[in-house]
């Protein structure tokens, strides 16, 4: 019965969207909620059905993404424990356990467990997906690429392999190639999977934004929000786009909406930054203060907002020593390009430009074309006295015409002015 109601609601939701209705569709039951209801029904029928508990755990993890609420991961773990109580060590349960470790950002542990599963069943596509994810997050890109390619070799153009390969292409500096794979993934995603489709559409929009195609990004983000109203990933990207367009009040409103939907510290950081740039200094101060409090509360956990905390201390709070302390801790955990970038920036604001340059160049050597990262590289090179490299990095960042390109242009302009004055 629950499924029936859900189906009807989904139908009405589609109908409403079709007729360009603007009312909220929050009452529409999501794919994850449907799956949760289905799994629960099976459990009600047979409380000894460990596969149903596995399904429930999967569905709850999915709901965690839909809502950005980590409490669903906790519930998923509880469901998984019930599965193991009925069938100790069952393989599907073991796979979901790795999944949840990844969800909690326990990347090293996830890699260890996934490696064990890979030895147990060598050609399991899903396990190669876990290996890819864990290695990407830890910065082991070669291992990640190997695992992702195995996924695609084992099962041609499978959806999970496509999205992973797309992300690797983005990291390797091939956003057009990433879009190509994401579009394939979108084509193969069943229309009923509205949230999956909204997620992929948002990722394509992100790639378009990163390469200056703002018109296409706008259209895609509106599609994502229309198909999955209030979608927090899409709201975030639309907020970034509004910042780039200097429509600051709208950006602040979008970031507020997103923070209400997913009240994580990192989401508050985006809001605070937007308020600051919008000139709403008092609001920004309050948001930053709340951000720091929330971020510090989780700074020693695996699932943290340390990247934002580093930038906050470095760029807004003038607490450079704290920035380096947090960055050093995070760098001890992982060497992915984003951590390298934050670590390099923390080193730079502490005057350690030689080491900072090594780290930022290590990040860029992976191939990523990220305007913010390139701007950091330019600033670090400038601080090191290498004006030629600084101009190269900054020009590259500016040419991307991405949301963070304006800052690079400003620095580049100041360089030109400085040169002219000299």
């Amino acid at each position: 019965m629950k499924k029936l109601v859900a189906v009807i609601l989904m139908f009405l939701g589609t109908t409403a969207a079709f007729t360009q209705a603007t009312e909220s569709q929050r009452s529409v039951v999501s794919p994850a909620q449907l799956s949760i209801a289905n799994a629960q029904r099976l459990i009600d029928k047979n409380p000894k059905d460990f596969e149903a508990y596995n399904s429930l755990a999967l569905a709850l993890a999915r709901r965690a993404r839909e809502t950005s609420d980590p409490n669903f991961y906790t519930q998923a773990e509880e469901a998984l424990q019930k599965s193991f109580a009925v069938s100790p060590g069952n393989y599907d349960g073991a796979r979901i356990q790795v999944w949840l470790l990844l969800g909690k950002h326990e990347f090293a542990a996830a890699l260890e467990e996934a490696t064990k599963l890979n030895k147990r069943i060598p050609d399991d596509v899903m396990v190669y997906g876990f290996l890819t994810d864990a290695n990407v997050e830890l910065g082991n890109y070669s291992d990640a690429e190997h695992a992702a390619q195995w996924m695609l070799n084992l099962r041609a153009a499978n959806l999970a392999g496509l999205t992973r390969a797309a992300y690797l292409r983005e990291l390797y500096g091939d956003p057009e190639g990433a879009v190509e794979l994401m579009k394939m993934a979108l084509d193969s995603t069943p229309p009923s999977e509205v949230e999956d489709r909204a997620w992929i559409t948002t990722q394509i929009a992100h790639l378009k934004m990163a390469t200056g195609k703002t018109g296409e990004a706008e259209e895609l983000l509106q599609q994502a929000i229309a198909s999955f109203p209030g979608y927090h990933y899409a709201l975030r990207n639309l907020g970034k786009l509004r910042m780039q367009q200097k429509r600051y009040d709208e950006a602040v409103a979008l970031f507020q909406q997103r923070y209400q939907a997913a009240s994580h510290a990192e989401n508050l950081f985006d809001l605070a930054e937007a308020q600051q740039i919008a000139g709403r200094t008092l609001d920004a101060r309050q948001s930053f203060a709340e951000f720091e409090r929330k971020s510090l509360a989780e700074t020693n956990r695996a699932d943290n907002s340390n990247h934002e905390l580093i930038i906050y201390y470095a760029d807004y709070a003038n607490q450079t020593a704290k920035a380096l302390e947090v960055a050093s801790r995070e760098y001890a955990r992982r060497h992915d390009v984003f951590t390298l970038d934050c670590y390099a920036w923390a080193l730079h604001v502490n005057g350690q430009d030689v080491e900072a340059r090594k780290k930022i160049e290590a990040a860029l050597a992976v191939g990523i074309q990220d305007a913010n990262m390139l701007r950091h590289a330019g600033e670090i090179a400038l601080s090191s006295g290498d004006i030629v490299a600084a101009q190269r990095y900054l020009r590259h960042a500016a040419d991307l015409n991405a949301p963070d390109s304006d800052r690079a242009r400003a620095t580049l302009a100041s360089l030109s002015t400085g040169s002219a004055q000299k």
Partner: protein, 493 residues
């Protein structure tokens, strides 16, 4: 960094989605994770009303629930759907028909859906033009023939529309008309259809996969009365009420034979070997060129029905699915000593012939009785192809037998396959040895499901319109749907 979290979360979910289904109608571990590319059934037969033409049906994406809206079941634009024909007995395709689909989203801001009869949107009565406004998600497709290395577009510049699923009478009040609009007559006597249809396959899946735990208290051996009945079911058809995505193509036989001519049944050139396949693009993490790869990797195939499901061992199913028929020699052990025969022996208590089972070779080689004109050197490699003698005229509608060749209806399976052919019973009996000795090994093995109760098309496209999302239902044990049983109620035991 948020991007990474997002990617991670997505990857997790996408992996999960393929795991949510558990159907026995998906045979191979890999394709079980890839519904859109899962070949459910392959048919090839001489057209009933055009003895100079062959009709081929490629069905994909199993057990589609008609009520599963709001977006139903489009073909996958990333899948290359192919029909392949060997005409010189070497196990390799000489003529290939390729089908590629494109999805069109017609309502801005909305990805999918079919709406009609409400909110001022007219009911969906057409695939294009007035009456098609409610088709938010619409698919077009192309048909290409590959022959002698040359690709020929068969669509002739026409826009071919796939027929959507049958949502229900308010949204699609004249669904049969929509279905008819999906039939296209192209140049050179080629006809084509693609869309969601009633799945013509019929089987008691639940009993078959419960270790051959058949119903009716006869242990899977049909009584003469049940066995002789080609018009009623005695056990529940697990596929009843489900839809499937179907591509149907009718072409002149002269387009398929090696010399482009018609041949009599005694001429080996009359015999073709056919199979249906699905493929997906080969993808590398790193692009080697500036554009998308044009290479494809096969995901699934079917020649003879139930070979992969019943004969090939689980550990080899994926390899079988992704390899070409010409390499099927590697699976010879499965063909020549099928495990299923031993199961029949132990579960049903019937005698089966000893291995090696050379009697099964006609299913995988060119030889009599399907190819009476083939000599000892014409067999070709062991290859799972659905062989069709195009020189054997079609059996008239109404006189066709569900047991096909075994019942003397030589226009039926395993001489090709028609929707009416009861491949479950025929293949089971073949595996049990009926071709060796019809008396000693001729047990009337069967599941008691003798027909598709929705019927069959008697002319192109031979498939029938999709079950209505609103008004259709399935058939199960203890439920109505077995017209051969008292009160029509299907047995549980």
């Amino acid at each position: 960094m948020k991007q990474m979290k997002a990617v991670l979360a997505m990857a997790l979910i996408v992996l999960a989605s393929g795991n949510m289904f558990a159907s026995s109608h998906r045979e191979a571990p890999i394709t079980a994770l890839d519904r859109g590319a899962d070949v459910t059934d392959w048919y090839a037969f001489v057209s009933y009303d055009h003895p100079d033409r062959v009709t081929m049906i490629l069905n994909v994406d199993p057990l589609l629930e008609p009520a599963n809206g709001p977006n139903y079941f489009p073909f996958d634009p990333n899948v290359l759907y192919e029909m392949k024909v060997d005409n010189n007995r070497d196990g390799m395709e000489d003529v290939t028909f390729q089908f590629r689909f494109k999805t069109e989203i017609r309502a801005p801001g909305v990805f999918t859906g079919f709406v009609g009869g409400i909110f001022g949107i007219p009911p969906i009565t057409a695939l294009n033009g007035p009456g098609s406004e409610g088709l938010s998600l619409r698919q077009t497709y192309t048909v290409t023939m590959i022959k002698n290395g040359k690709a020929t577009d068969l669509t002739g510049g026409n826009s071919l529309y796939a027929v959507p699923s049958n949502v229900g009478p308010l949204t699609m009040p004249t669904y049969d008309t929509l279905f008819s609009q999906g039939v296209y007559s192209l140049a050179n006597n080629v006809r084509v259809f693609a869309g969601t249809v009633d799945d013509p396959f019929y089987i008691d899946l639940g009993a078959a996969f419960d270790s051959l735990n058949f119903r009716m208290g006869v242990g899977g051996i049909l009584s003469p009365q049940v066995d002789a009945d080609d018009t009623h079911n005695y056990a529940p058809d697990s596929v009843a009420g489900y839809n499937v995505n179907s591509i149907v193509l009718e072409v002149p036989i002269t387009m398929l034979t090696a010399d482009g001519k018609l041949h009599g049944f005694g001429d080996k050139q009359a015999v073709i070997g056919t199979y249906g396949a699905t493929s997906r693009p080969v993808v590398s993490v790193r692009r080697t060129t500036g554009s998308a790869s044009s290479a494809f990797q096969q995901v699934n195939r079917e020649g003879n029905s139930l070979i992969n499901e019943l004969i090939i061992g689980t550990g080899s199913k994926d390899k079988f699915s992704t390899d070409d028929p010409k390499n099927d020699g590697q699976f010879a052990a499965f063909f020549l000593d099928p495990l299923l025969a031993h199961l029949f022996n132990s579960v049903l208590g019937i005698p089966v012939p000893p291995a090696p089972r050379l009697d099964l070779l006609p299913l995988v080689q060119y030889t009599a009785p399907i190819c009476p004109g083939c000599g000892p050197k014409d067999g070709g490699p062991i290859a799972d192809l659905l062989r069709l003698n195009t020189g054997i005229p079609p059996t008239a509608v109404g006189k066709q037998k569900r047991l096909g060749f075994l019942a003397g209806d030589i226009a039926g399976f395993p001489n090709g396959r028609r929707p009416i052919d009861d491949v479950v019973d025929i293949a089971s009996r073949a595996v049990a040895g009926i071709l060796v000795d019809p008396v000693k090994y001729g047990a009337a093995i069967g599941d008691g499901v003798n027909i598709n109760e929705n019927g069959y098309g008697t002319t192109f496209p031979y498939v029938t319109p999709a079950n209505s999302g609103r008004n259709s239902h399935h058939v199960g044990p203890g439920q109505d749907g077995c017209s051969g049983q008292p009160n029509g109620i299907c047995p549980i035991n």
